[in-house]
Symmetry: C2
Subunit: 470 residues, 2 copies
């Protein structure tokens, strides 16, 4: 039967892969970093005028050493995660300059960032702490990452994303992660953190990104090589064309990681989408984004790599039905296409311009519901329980049957903020929308947060590092 | 690679099917209709105390004559649809007693019903007109179907659902459909309409439903045999158990259709879900509902039958983010699982208690986006367009490239009510939510509606039929 999710045949993949190799050979990928160019040159890869021309052999060689799955260690080992296989790891929104509430934006500040860390720490559905969960405007730009790393380490003991805004920021992240794990030598080739590496579409890498990538690779930390290219502006207008340029950009970055440190862990991914042709702006709620997600996850899987998708993302600026539709179908498509890692899992509004605390919780609920469904049906004789069906018979009822009591707490997902009241109960309770429920829940979650344990000496050294960094 | 949508293995299916046969043999399905029981008896099927005990052979025999696909004819042949295969036919919400707007409910009236017909007629995404799009409270209960059938035929020339509230109502629907098509003989075994047949879970059929089913089958019209059973109250609490009782109920109905008229068209489906264990109420936004949808579509496909799923359904009472999440993931899961027919595609709020005009349009948008994605990627050399990638090169831009102009109107879905403005444009324009945009659009759609052509004589005869019916 035609499987509507199976949108990439082997033939499709081969065509996309072959054309990627043609791009490598005839068009190339520009790296605006001498350091990166030198690495390619040292490995006898053709470089001309700052453009790198990979060969098929270079790609094969890289894919032979990239691990298909690996563990990422948390300060608290109970929160270790496995990247790859059939695992699903969810991280929050990343990179928004604003925080928005009921349609009113304010520039994000460090206190917002700390609060997002606390939400991650208290979350049943998010397993990976972020970076840039709001970009703190009350910290000088070149020091932001230090405070965010400190906040990550102090407020949350789940694994976390490091900074990749520059080589310096990446090194600071590694240093601070090193302090937290009792010494930098303890984390060499033992993944504890991740750099989010975006190419500069089309077909280029900025010096900052390339050099951050090199740092993470050197230390054997995870390079999540992804991008946001826009069909019709920074990528071809046709989706197959976009998948080719996207693939070239990602693979070029991955090749570089393996040249720096063969076997260093990577993730293959994207949050590419299309341009809204009416306004010329980014359209992250577009249905094409879900299609691209599906294809991207399948391509990464074919390369034997852990894959990254996007999460609860939307062009809406408030928690209305549009926000729900777009976030749910983005998250849902990505998860059902096999994604291993979701960035922007929770909290994004307005095409990445803002984080929202209330949306964070609503997106978490989507994640919880999808995770429940990933457990599947569990079809066994025992769970079919024919004996009960026979006992209840035609016209009977199951509500008061012992079997129902036995299973009712475990069989069904128990929502945290979705409401299921009938109309009159809902009316009597004030006709609340999910925003209202979420708003209250955010407060409760921040109340219930407790600072995770940290060695006093480590804490002091981290704070000193932040203070003294340039 | 583990495919997260493939939740029903062959082994799972066999186990569910075998247990369905055990239910038929040892538990049976009750039919509260002498007429139906007689039909089973006449075919040497065991009937005892109003309970029917089917054999494996009865099921096989029925599945040998059910068509796997067929056309349903519209008054306007341009709106004919094909049921089955890889087709997708979407119909509106069905059965709600109220209409709701901005959280305020009023009992549905005939004028609401007519307006829903007009929305269907002017829709780019809905191909099938309903019945009970709101249940008109200003018409005596036993005459409602007559007025709805008249409204269907006059306001819309797409195919439509008939009434199945009783044998009488089904016969009236057939009579009126017959008038519209120039005579009842013209529609004998030529599908023009459909009865929505729900079993009485668990494991029973009311006399009304069974006898409506018999009427539709006799005339070779479509029987959409589905149900709404509730895990933990009218079905087992465990999902595999629910899938068994559900399967038994659906197949029993389908067997009856084939005994009445072998080869008469059917659809296999469900909108079953779970009970909210906190409140005891129906939870149609539950994630288990999407899982059940997926399994149901797959089971119907394995039986070689066209399948029915649910559409944009939610427990929310207004167009907030919960409504978007639940509607999108229900619609999305059902469509991606291969459903051929969606009932409740558009308009439902509050666990089926109300229809909403604004939600109708928002759900339509989801349908439009999903349909766009069903077209797939179209991976060809031509659409990869390597020449343009080479021309633009690293660091170039596609926005002003001729290829972009060429494709920009056809490649991307153009949303009807989703907004993609940046924050300041959105603010300046009044911070509208999708409800506001939809509200305005509803008015526009009703304005632009034009009554489809109908022979004056046919119109007169239909009106006379309504007037004179008992």
């Amino acid at each position: 039967m035609y499987n509507r999710m199976d949108i990439l045949s082997d033939k499709d993949f081969d065509l996309l892969h072959e054309n990627t190799l043609r791009v490598f050979e005839q068009v190339g990928v520009a790296f605006h970093s001498e350091k990166a160019l030198d690495i390619f040159k040292r490995h006898d890869i053709k470089v001309e005028n700052g453009v790198v021309y990979l060969g098929a052999k270079d790609v094969e060689k890289a894919l032979a050493t990239t691990p298909s799955s690996y563990k990422i260690h948390a300060r608290n080992p109970q929160h270790d995660v496995v990247m790859g296989g059939d695992n699903l790891v969810i991280a929050p929104g990343y990179g928004a300059p604003f925080v928005v509430k009921k349609g009113v934006q304010h520039r994000a500040v460090l206190e917002d960032y700390r609060n997002f860390c606390k939400l991650v720490q208290t979350s049943n559905h998010i397993d990976y702490n972020g970076m840039l969960m709001g970009d703190p405007s009350d910290i000088p730009a070149d020091r932001g990452h230090l405070h965010m790393m400190l906040a990550n380490l102090v407020n949350c003991d789940k694994p976390f994303i490091g900074s990749s805004v520059s080589e310096r920021a990446a090194l600071d992240s590694i240093e601070m992660a090193g302090i937290a794990f009792g010494g930098k030598e303890n984390i060499q080739d033992k993944p504890v953190t991740m750099g989010i590496i975006s190419s500069l579409s089309p077909l280029a890498y900025s010096s900052e990104m390339a050099e951050a990538l090199i740092v993470y690779a050197e230390y054997g930390q995870v390079n999540m090589v992804a991008l946001l290219s826009q069909g019709g502006s920074t990528a071809p207008v046709t989706l197959p064309g976009l998948l080719v340029t996207q693939n070239a950009e990602i693979l070029a970055g991955i090749v570089l990681t393996q040249l720096v440190n063969p076997g260093s862990p990577v993730i293959y991914g994207s949050t590419s989408t299309v341009t809204d042709m009416k306004t010329g702006s980014l359209a992250i709620g577009a249905p094409e984004q879900w299609l691209i997600q599906n294809a991207t996850q399948q391509m990464g899987q074919r390369y034997g790599l852990p894959t990254r998708g996007s999460g609860g993302i939307t062009d809406a600026h408030c928690l209305d039905m549009q926000a729900g539709i777009e976030s749910a179908l983005s998250l849902g498509t990505t998860v059902m296409s096999g994604a291993n890692f979701l960035l922007h899992g929770c909290g994004i509004l307005g095409a990445y311009i803002a984080m929202s605390f209330e949306k964070f919780l609503a997106d978490e609920e989507i994640c919880g519901m999808l995770r429940r469904n990933l457990k599947g049906l569990g079809v066994t004789e025992e769970r079919i329980d024919f004996a009960t069906i026979k006992e209840v018979g035609p016209g009977g009822e199951y509500l008061t049957h012992p079997a129902t009591f036995k299973h009712c707490r475990t069989e069904f997902y128990l929502p945290e903020i979705m409401r299921r009241n009938d109309y009159s109960t809902w009316s009597v309770k004030g006709k609340k929308e999910i925003f209202d429920i979420a708003e209250k829940k955010v407060e409760e979650r921040l109340e219930q947060w407790r600072e995770p344990e940290m060695d006093g000496d480590i804490r002091a050294r981290l704070e000193k590092y932040v203070e003294q960094a340039f």
